[in-house]
Amino acid sequence: MDIAAWCRQARILIVAGKGGVGKTTVSASLAVMAARVGLNVLVVQLEGEGSVASALGHPGPIGYEEVVLRSEGDEGLVRARAITPDEALLEYLADHGLRAVSKRLLSSGTIDVISTAIPGIRDILVLGKVKQLERTDGADLILIDAPATGHALTFLGSAAGLVDVAKVGPIRVQASEVGDLLRDPARCQVLVVTLPEETPVNEAVETAGRLEGSVGMTLAGVVVNGRYQELEGLGANPEEAAAAVGGRLDPAHARVLREAAQFRLQRQRLQAEQADRLARSLAVPMLEVPYLFTTEIGPGEIDHLATALSEAVAGLPEPEPEAQLEPEAAAAER
């Protein structure tokens, strides 16, 4: 599939996944992949930690102010900014004539009381800010590095919850508009990141099901991070392989070569089982990102992973053109 077309499926792509699955690395790689095909990408971080930015070599944390992380060619650009609930809230209060008291509401803890009375209000304000960016920012793709751990579901489910609680008023309007955004696949989709291991696969399947089911979102796909690249010939006998190139191995060295090969084969087999299980459980495109053995994750490695991701996207089948479906539907009606 054409990479730019894949990146343009929806303006907003939310990257979700449990802690420890490499969500930030994947977000950074996605941003670079999109920028390489000429897209203007805005990465939005929701936890105030400069993680996507630091993966792309930006020193220190990033804040509400936008920073440019990378430019690719003439058009491609990766920008980043952070949105925190408190900042979104202060902005919202100021917009509703509460600027004068907003600092005091925050410091007195009254905001805590209000947000406990209306769970999800902070999330909805952050998503409301994302919705505003969709309208005002010139980005071709807005990548949201969603909160880690189990909060993504709560976070994305906040809109539906709030429409139930707040019967009238500006919060209800905000919640219902955010709900519209999340459920419109042309505007917003979600990508679930996981590892090819048992528990992460279970969690990814569960998360995907709930995002599609209760939140009503569309899955752009699932990214399997940290897959060992297949090495051909790991089953070879080290002594024989050495003899073939005219050498002889110290027996102890031959043994570690064999053990290392067996360990990798075993992990490859386990990973393949889990990736297959994931593919059987989720009927969405699966993109694989390789495990990096050699180095720390920095800008160079993100480039490498972006290339791997691009190859994975390029390998996806072209979507069925809708024009082909219509005559069939028309025929069926006749």
Partner: protein, 356 residues
Amino acid sequence: MSGLAELVGQRSVIVCCGSGGVGKTTTAAAIALRAAEEGRRACVVTIDPAKRLADALGLEALTNAPKLVEGQWPGELWALMLDTKGTFDDLVSRYAADPGQAENILTNRVYRNLSSALSGTQEYMASEKLYELHEEERFDLVVVDTPPTRNALDFIDAPRRLLRFLDNRVFRFVMTPTRTYLRAVSVATRTILRTISKVVGAEVVEDAVTFFQAFEGMEEGFRARAQRVMELLRSKDCAFVLVASPRTDTVAEALFFADKLADAGIEVQGLVVNRLHPRFPEQGPSTGPAEPRGEGGLAVLERNLADFRAVAEREESNLAVLAERVSPAPVARIPFLAGDVHDLDGLAQIADHLFG
């Protein structure tokens, strides 16, 4: 006796902390299992176990009461999957002046949201449950698996945060109009609340006011208990075990955890590093081509070995920084295992590595 074994034999509370996805739950369960094997009465409080491990421990659903895990060991192994809301309900009932007051609170919407919406409530209830089990004296050791927060202090700070919530001045002023010396403030406060009502709806503000009215008189009990929970966490009875994986990003988070705990005056008593890749020892020189060339054959095998040695080297250097930071805490290393742990045999295998 290794350092961790000493903790299991002597402490009465072990808190397993660390970031998400590093194996805290499994580590906590393995520690409790070993304690039972050593003849102690142990209870593990888990937060969010993977389903098959929960099944192995006989935990089908959230419970507030520990369940006995059947097995052949001299001590006892109990397990509990924390029910945040149930624990909070119990606490309210305990400190309410009468059943009517408890009922008023339990049915209030603000209260019902408290367990899911106020950050730190889950952490608070985990420490509350730990305290409760510790006080009951049915257990020699309570092992608790903490929620996967970014900040270790959430666990320690949570009681204070909740008290701050319950102390909220804006709402207290509204409900105590009889304190005439506060009237001036109260008028200003009423103005704020009126303005808030316009934005979020009067119903919400009303619920909040009702909640604080219902809570009147209970803060002292809560405060005193929270104080005792804090004291237990800081006492010699309690040990914090930091759980990490050797990946660079999780080591960075673990260092952050250790710093935060140190800021709070808590020393890490043990470090558990999960999912270490195997170490392949360096060998004597081989006779043969110095640089294996070409595709396939020996070159592939050598490259594979080199890959794993590079991983091991990186893990060791990450680990050295972490071990140094928590020194002299003992370090337990657990290798990458073939699969996830979903039965007691798997837990016993982890325990063997932990206490090896």
